[in-house]
Amino acid sequence: MDTFLLSRIQFAANISFHILFPTITIALGWVLLFFRYRFAVTKDTKWMDAYMFWVKVFALSFALGVVSGITMSFQFGTNWPGFMEAVGNVAGPLLAYEVMTAFFLEAVFLGIMLFGARRVPPWLHITATFLVAFGTTMSAFWILVLNSWMHTPQGYELRDGVVHATDWFAIIFNPSMPYRLGHMLLASGLTVAFLIAGIAAFRRLIGDRADSTLTQLRFGLTLGAVLIPAQIIMGDLHGLNTLGHQPAKVAAMEGNWDTGPNVPLVLFAIPDEDARTNHAEIAIPNGASLILKHSPDGVVPGLNDFVAEDGTVMHPPVAPVFWGFRVMVGTGMAMLALSWGGAFLMWRRGAGSLPRPFLFATTGMAFSGWLATLAGWYVTEIGRQPWLVTGVLTTEAAVGDVAAPMVMATLMAYLATYLALMIAYIGVIFHLAKRAAAGKRPTREEPRDAPIAVPAE
């Protein structure tokens, strides 16, 4: 393998690992603020229990997000020096604003949020919790502005191959930014909703009968049921936006080779880029035309439009985009079924008597948000290829001149580290759930709400 491919795999590995944790912390910060606020208002300890449990998960996720994020900031220089050299005048200020307005805010107030409860007045503790949540969201805002600009650049001019900013308003509010930001924030909300529901369901399954656990289960399922329709609408809007600005990506998502009307919605197929056709296709007639153009004879772009006369392919690799899209949508449908099914069951029988198979399914879906988020990012990022910044800089032009064996060696080291940390992370969340549940079984002799002595740090 050459340096280019290895660097791409390494960047993909790093950013895939990294995004898992912000996806949790962005929304979990607001959920913690909600729990904290509910406790302040109701004085009901079930909210405090919920806060105490999830603040640990937050601290852990935050640490993983920070350290893997630092890796990202170095990777630009070690592996992709051409990126900053070409578009640094735009990317630089955006990244600088992320560090200055978000990173320090989160990091400093996280200390007060985690350990300051007994040292500062309640209003300051709630404010710290708010500022941490606000900081993670600001961070998401700036990084998604930059990422969206890479997809749909505007507000710049090229001088000697270097991008110079001309209109910062246009750069920040570039065409795909509102959709991408909305889509990602909702993805984070859904990830956290299903994580909370999944872990609470797991605690119910192992006999945890605490009020707080039930409240968390109800909260997670309800949040999921509310957010999933919003996400489906937002995803559709984002898709239409992509159709306008990056038609090749949409063609790959749909697995559509030829531009034309009455394009079917391909449910399953094995796209073959060499033969430029799909094998084993199962499709709904006119489906893609209906979804993308809201008319059965709407014209949908095809991949063959993006092959130059000399045969140079200027569209993304089809299979990963095609499959990534189906994994994302499939997971979303499963989320819809589970959360609405759960809402119906809670309405009919109450959250306390949800059937065990349903609790098993909910536990199984605890990390479904990760799957959908990763699949979605693969669609949009692989879908941008061969461009790093659409129409401005190709990915290949940005790669650094590092010996392939060196990239290979560091890639292996990162992968081993990440694998170990993933196992540890998921293991610790379930360990915390078991430890929290241990004091809450009615069969035990101690009173149900006895505080459990857990060293926080």
Partner: protein, 336 residues
């Protein structure tokens, strides 16, 4: 003063220097605490962690800001420096990952795993410290991978690691009392030579790497004007050595002195290096003026920085005020 292609690079080099300096001091003591883990008992480790727990995250962010400014303000230098230091950067990153997550995992994982996470915390701190010291050495020697330069970088790797353990011990002297404080004093006595060796090695080596740097220091009248820098450093090291023989005192007076002294030494060393290398950002190859981004982009960042940096400093001070005094074991609880 107008903000243009001659002043902006200087301002940003100053901001980057400030970030690096703050990082080296602040995360220096975090990493130092990690380096001292093998010398401490499990109970002491909980208290040592408690002394840095609320701060480490923000401390590490100064590295992100420093590398961010390098990336943003000097993009060409960013690529050149980081591709030249590819492997040590990777070692540092994996070290920072291990150190950062071990913080959390050691308290949250099943109890039998705690020892392993403590080891990971030490290993991560060691990897980060040595690789940073190695990069410092390579940078001073002009980023050329020759056998001699690598040897020198290994020397600075060892020296910076011991220096970090010294400032870590100084932090523990400040933030704890009792048996742990007494132990930390003996750690600091063992570590002060690393600080001296590191400062000495870099100070002696830099003038001989380039005749330009030699002339900056040893021509008249500079040699007289600059003499206070090494003399003050020498005097501080002697003072620290004397202080460590008498600490801890009754009533805990002067517990702050080792940390303040270590910080001052790092500041002095930093100014010395800054003076040597200015105006180069890649030693002897690329000046800050050649490497800088366009003035328009730098201005946009500067406006934000002028607003935000005072706020960052403000709430950082708030955080250190909230967690002032001797460290007690950390807890998330708020109702008891």
């Amino acid at each position: 003063m107008t903000l243009d292609a001659t002043t902006l690079p200087v301002i940003f080099a100053g901001l980057m220097g400030l970030s690096i300096l703050l990082y080296v001091i602040l995360d220096g003591f975090d990493l130092g605490v990690g380096l001292l883990f093998p010398l401490s008992t499990p109970e002491e480790r909980d208290r040592m962690i408690a002394s840095i727990g609320p701060f480490w995250d923000a401390n590490e962010t100064w590295l992100v800001l420093a590398i961010g400014i390098l990336l943003v303000a000097f993009p060409t230098a960013h690529g050149t420096i980081l591709t030249a230091l590819y492997l040590p950067v990777a070692v540092m990153l994996i070290g920072l990952i291990l150190r950062g997550v071990a913080f959390e995992f050691r308290a949250k994982a099943p109890l039998p795993h705690k020892v392993s996470w403590d080891r990971a915390f030490f290993a991560g701190s060691l990897m980060s410290s040595t690789s940073q010291g190695f990069m410092l050495g390579m940078y001073v020697m002009g980023l050329e991978w020759t056998l001699f330069n690598v040897g020198f970088a290994l020397l600075t790797a060892g020296a910076l690691t011991v220096a970090y353990s010294f400032i870590g011990a100084a932090w523990i002297i400040l933030k704890t009392d009792g048996a742990l404080q007494i132990k930390a004093v003996s750690w600091a006595r063992g570590g002060i030579w690393g600080m001296a060796l590191g400062l000495g090695a870099v100070s002696l080596a830099t003038p001989f790497v380039s005749s330009r740097i030699y002339d900056r220091w040893f021509s008249f009248p500079e040699v007289v004007l600059l003499a206070p820098l090494p003399l003050m450093s020498l005097a501080l090291i002697v003072l620290l050595w004397v202080a460590l023989r008498h600490l801890p005192t009754k009533g805990d007076h002067f517990a702050w002195f080792p940390f303040a002294g270590a910080t001052t030494l790092m500041v002095l060393g930093f100014f010395g290096m800054g003076y040597s290398f200015y105006p180069f950002i890649v030693p002897e190859q690329l000046t800050i003026y050649e490497a800088a981004s366009s003035p328009e982009s730098l201005k946009i960042i500067l406006v934000g920085a002028l607003f935000v940096l005072p706020m960052i400093i403000g709430y950082t001070v708030l955080s250190y005020t909230v967690f002032r005094g001797k460290a007690i074991n950390l807890s998330y609880d708020w109702d008891r």
